[in-house]
């Protein structure tokens, strides 16, 4: 189970509202490579993961992603404070505003609602860990694109922190993959699913 800590993992302090930027950044809240999908992916993959230390990494990284979801929500919240209807139209936030006012809704920048179709739980440790490494790189690329579009140093500071976390998680998942591969039968390196074909004793 989980307990809540009443503090962000890294501080978010944005001085200037900017709804246009909020509409871009919300893609890391509920978009295809966002933090919600990351968390659900890792926490859901744990059940079919036969190796204890990989269960630990999936648990901790999946938990940290929830903290990142909260940071993205905080950025969107602070970027959309105190806007007038005129500013909302001028900054291109009107199409979001009409559906959600200034609430934080899990969607991609394009407006597509969050979908689990962007993530996979394959039930095969090797497949899942490759998915996880790809997911970390996709999120890192998204943060790179956000940094290309952001001209607000307060926003970019928090985004750079989140980008660096993707790099660290990629490294940890790579170590998990190596750990799993080290325990496979060399004659059946990719032909077996260690979660299904060689189940752990019940």
């Amino acid at each position: 189970m989980w307990s809540y800590e009443k503090k962000l993992q890294y501080p978010v302090r944005i001085k200037t509202p900017n709804a246009k930027l909020a509409k871009i950044i919300i893609t890391q809240y509920g978009g295809p490579d966002g933090e919600l999908g990351a968390s659900l992916r890792y926490l859901s993959q744990r059940y079919s993961m036969p190796y204890a230390q990989v269960k630990g990494a999936l648990t901790d990284i999946g938990t940290e992603e929830l903290g990142h979801l909260e940071m993205i929500g905080s950025i969107v919240y602070q970027l959309t404070r105190g806007l007038t209807p005129e500013e909302i139209i001028k900054q291109g936030f009107d199409t979001y505003f009409v559906d959600h006012t200034t609430g934080v809704y899990p969607q991609a920048a394009s407006g597509t609602p969050f979908t689990a179709a962007a993530l996979q739980v394959k039930g095969d440790p090797i497949t899942d860990l490759h998915e996880d490494m790809a997911a970390e790189m996709k999120a890192r690329s998204t943060y790179d694109n956000i940094l290309r579009l952001s001209d607000d140093p307060d926003v970019s500071d928090a985004i750079r922190f989140l980008r660096a976390r993707e790099v660290v998680h990629y490294q940890r998942f790579g170590e998990c993959l190596r750990h799993v591969q080290d325990q496979l039968d060399s004659k059946n390196f990719f032909a077996i699913n260690p979660s299904f074909d060689q189940p752990q004793k019940r």
Binding site: E5, Q9, R46, A52, Q53, D157, A164, E175
Partner: protein
Amino acid sequence: MYSSNRGSEWTLPFMAWELRLYLDTHPNDEKALNAYRQICAKLEGCSGACRTPAGEMTDGDSRRWTWVDDPWPWQTEANLADVPGKNESEG
């Protein structure tokens, strides 16, 4: 790079958390485990990232990161202990 001078309110818990992720994939790294325990000791009440299951902090003699060990909560083996009072209420 992002600012690193934002004060210990964020720095120490982050250091602990980063060591924690490292320990998940390097559970036998004593040096990292000792560093983790030292940071935990600095954090008042050992809250947040240093919150570990019963035994980890008191079992300071353990030379490996036992937190990753089986069983995990979804496994039957982790659910065999009696729930206090359950039998009384049913009886």
